[in-house]
């Protein structure tokens, strides 16, 4: 099976979808001729023509707003916001329109739309190239929110998202585009070609939305993670020697509560980790759900490891980014509680 980077896998997902369904269109800033600032759409315009893959004006609201109009017409737009940090001008269209359309029209108008956005930090991106705004989407009824952590999932989840009848926010951890990253910024980065999850089938397959996957079986404690934090979790487990079960959530909404609850009931302990800021972050929802569903099985308080409640800084990148050391301390604390 060929090995691909996450960029190639994402491009492959759009290629497969455009090939199979003439209603799939791809557009965004620098997405057409140039192939995207991260190369995720490279070659698509050449292959499918300008009416299927094209450059857009610098207007996130315009990109999402027109895509909604296209989706209600019957197309399946897969649009790109260059950085998740720049989705705010489109937020009204996403929340008030895309998410509500099926409900408010009683199914007369629907919005099969995918909004891709590179997300997350760890790249010295500073305040506006590092944010993780997933909680601003998971709080919105009518949206699905997906965060892949590897090339195989990225392709399968993106194809599933494009085929989904409802709007999907597809957050791509850009730190993972070229290889897994465990937070050890001082060590050389492994490319996806050296990782088994870099093996991506050619052609069509899907990874279903709403299903988590257990990345590491363990008995002592459950770690709930997604995106880059999956590898941070692996590193923290290796370094502490704690037999943790690592769950990669993959889809945040709808959430695979069953897998989470089964794991925490088994381990009796839970640590939640995300890059996004702590207060009202998605971790709060996860902690609440675990508490509600696993209270009598819990042997320690649920601990959240997250980005600090500050804007994402530049120079202090590694003091901000929740790395294996911080997660390791939380695991030890949870085990000793």
């Amino acid at each position: 099976m060929p090995r691909m980077t996450m960029i190639e896998a994402i491009r492959g997902a759009m290629d497969v979808s455009m090939e199979r369904d003439a209603n799939v269109v791809v557009f965004g800033e620098d997405v057409g001729y140039f192939g995207g600032v991260f190369r995720c759409t490279q070659g698509l315009q050449q292959k499918y023509g300008k009416s299927r893959c094209f450059d857009a004006p610098i207007s996130e609201l315009g990109i999402v707003g027109t895509a909604i109009g296209m989706a209600t017409y019957g197309l399946r737009p897969c649009v790109e916001i260059q950085f998740a940090d720049y989705m705010y001008p489109a937020y009204d269209q996403i929340v008030s329109e895309a998410a509500r359309l099926r409900y408010r029209s009683n199914g007369e108008f629907t919005c099969p739309l995918v909004v891709r956005m590179p997300t997350g930090g760890g790249i010295f991106g500073g305040q506006t190239h590092s944010q993780s705004p997933e909680a601003l989407f998971t709080h919105v009824s009518g949206l699905k929110t997906v965060v892949p952590s590897n090339p195989y999932d990225a392709k399968g989840l993106l194809i599933a998202a494009i085929e989904d009848p409802d709007p999907v926010i597809f957050l791509e951890p850009k730190r993972l585009y070229n290889g897994p990253f465990d937070g050890h910024h001082d060590r050389p980065v492994t490319p996806w070609s050296k990782h088994e999850l870099g093996e991506v089938p050619e052609g069509h397959y899907t990874v279903p939305l709403g299903k988590a996957v257990i990345r590491r079986k363990g008995a002592a404690i459950t770690i709930l993670a997604y995106g880059t934090m999956v590898y941070v979790a692996e590193a923290a487990v290796a370094e502490t020697g704690i037999d943790a079960e690592i769950i990669d959530l993959r889809t945040l909404l709808p959430l695979d509560l069953e897998t989470i609850v089964a794991s925490v009931k088994k381990t009796g302990r839970c640590v939640v980790i995300h890059e996004a800021t702590l207060t009202s972050g998605f971790g709060a929802e996860l902690a609440a759900l675990v508490q509600e569903n696993c209270f009598f099985h819990l042997e320690a308080p649920i601990i959240r490891v997250a980005g600090w409640d500050t804007p994402y800084p530049h120079a202090q990148e590694w003091d901000y980014f929740p790395g294996p050391a911080r997660l390791g301390r939380a695991l030890v604390d949870a085990m000793e509680a």
Partner: protein, 410 residues
């Protein structure tokens, strides 16, 4: 430094406030028939003057004059009058129903009936409107059942939207009427996207976007114009300038630009300004813009100059911010009376027939209302089920919603 006078902050104000004498002397109204009718393939550059004028067909005597006259047959004109009268009667009954507590909210069209009623007649089946909450004439003029509109307003057991939406936020795909959103201007850019999709698929259908004067200040207005211009989308972008955005006069949104239509010029769009109270002019301009779009010549921006005679909504009292008699002083008159006079002048109508039509229409509206009320009103009779509240958030109900529906005991 000492030579420099202190800066002054500017906040536009309407000419008159409550207690004052209405004054529209600043509204420049060209003679009916005086504005030229360019070919539909006219270069936007060559018709810039049309963004600063007002296209009018009906003159003071009720005659149809000039190059924009003649887009409708006699029967179509009589039908148009009926549509406007129906919308007005419908409004009056629903306004009253709100006062009687049968629904929570209503918004009338008084004075603006010509805009949506005439525009609808310039479209073809399959075209899609992206309306605001003040274009119900698009439904009336397309024969959408009044009972359905009332069911929606009453949020009753037969409400096509299952009680999920505020009154007047209709939706009808079949009648080319996109689901209305409470968030202003959002649909303006969606209309452009729908039109882009139609072009991408080499379809022949076109879209029409709608926005009020106040909402042109929203970013979506700007985005819609950029995208329409860039991709030459087959869309007609309609601005209904009724002078008021709730309590805010149109000068606050318009600022220093001479007209709302003029906003289109900077985007390279052909921009027309039309007498919104002149059914014939509205139809002729709509037809021009629709043909232009359908001929792959791109988008058009149209400003309809009209006046919001009624309150903004049933929650609003305009006497707090404008003279009570202002609507009577509005120089473009009343669209119903103007079309009526035109038809009478041409021997196609009479005062008697008008009274008779009014009675017939009222009867139809009351009959529809009775039927709708048999299905319930907001606080009495049949209601949408609580289960309906949980349906339709997604195509398939996800587990967390199934759990919540269970908790709600339904």
């Amino acid at each position: 430094m000492t030579d420099t006078a202190p800066l002054q902050f500017h906040v536009p104000e309407p000419e008159v406030r409550p207690g004052g004498t209405p004054d529209f002397s600043n509204v420049r109204i060209p003679e009916a028939g005086s504005v030229r009718r360019p070919d539909i393939d006219a270069n936007p550059e060559s018709i810039r003057d049309l963004a600063y004028s007002i296209i009018r067909v009906l003159n003071r005597d009720g005659e149809a004059v000039g190059p924009w006259a003649g887009s409708l047959t006699d029967d179509e004109l009589a039908e148009g009058l009926r549509h406007m009268m129906t919308l007005r009667a419908f409004d009056a009954r629903m306004q009253m129903a709100q006062r009687q507590g049968k629904t929570s909210f209503y918004m009338q069209h008084m004075g603006e009936e010509a805009v949506s009623c005439a525009f609808r007649r310039a479209l073809q089946p399959g075209d899609m409107n992206f309306p605001t909450y003040r274009q119900a004439g698009l439904l009336i003029a397309d024969g959408y059942p009044m009972v359905e509109m009332m069911n929606q307003i009453y949020s009753n057991e037969s409400d096509p939207l299952k009680g999920r939406q505020l009154p007047v936020m209709y939706s009808s795909k079949q009648h080319g009427f996109f689901s209305i959103s409470g968030n202003l201007a959002t649909q303006f850019v969606q209309a452009v996207g729908w039109a882009m999709a139609s072009a991408i698929k080499n379809d022949t259908r076109i879209a029409a976007g709608w926005i009020g004067d106040g909402s042109t200040a929203e970013s979506d207005f700007h985005a819609a114009l950029v995208f329409a211009s860039t991709y030459r989308a087959p869309v007609v972008l309609n601005i209904v300038n009724n002078q008021w955005a709730i309590s805010t006069f149109q000068g606050i949104a318009r600022g220093g630009s001479g007209t709302f239509a003029a906003r289109g010029l900077g985007f390279g769009l052909p921009a027309l300004r039309v007498d919104g109270n002149d059914y014939l002019a509205v139809h002729a301009v709509a037809k021009w813009a629709v043909e232009r779009a359908r001929s792959n010549l791109g988008p058009t921006l149209v400003e309809y100059v009209t006046y919001r005679v009624g309150a903004h909504s049933t929650s609003d009292d305009p006497s707090a911010y404008r003279p009570k008699t202002e609507s009577a002083a509005w120089p473009l008159g009343d669209p119903v009376i103007r079309l009526k006079n035109h038809l009478i002048l041409r021997g196609l109508w009479s005062e008697e027939r008008h009274k008779q039509a009014e009675a017939e229409i009222l009867d139809t509206v009351i009959t529809a209302q009775k039927e709708a009320e048999r299905h319930g009103t907001l606080h009495a009779g049949g209601k949408p089920s609580t289960r309906d509240m949980f349906e339709g958030v997604y195509a398939e109900m996800p587990p967390h919603l199934r759990r919540q529906r269970q908790q709600a005991g339904v």
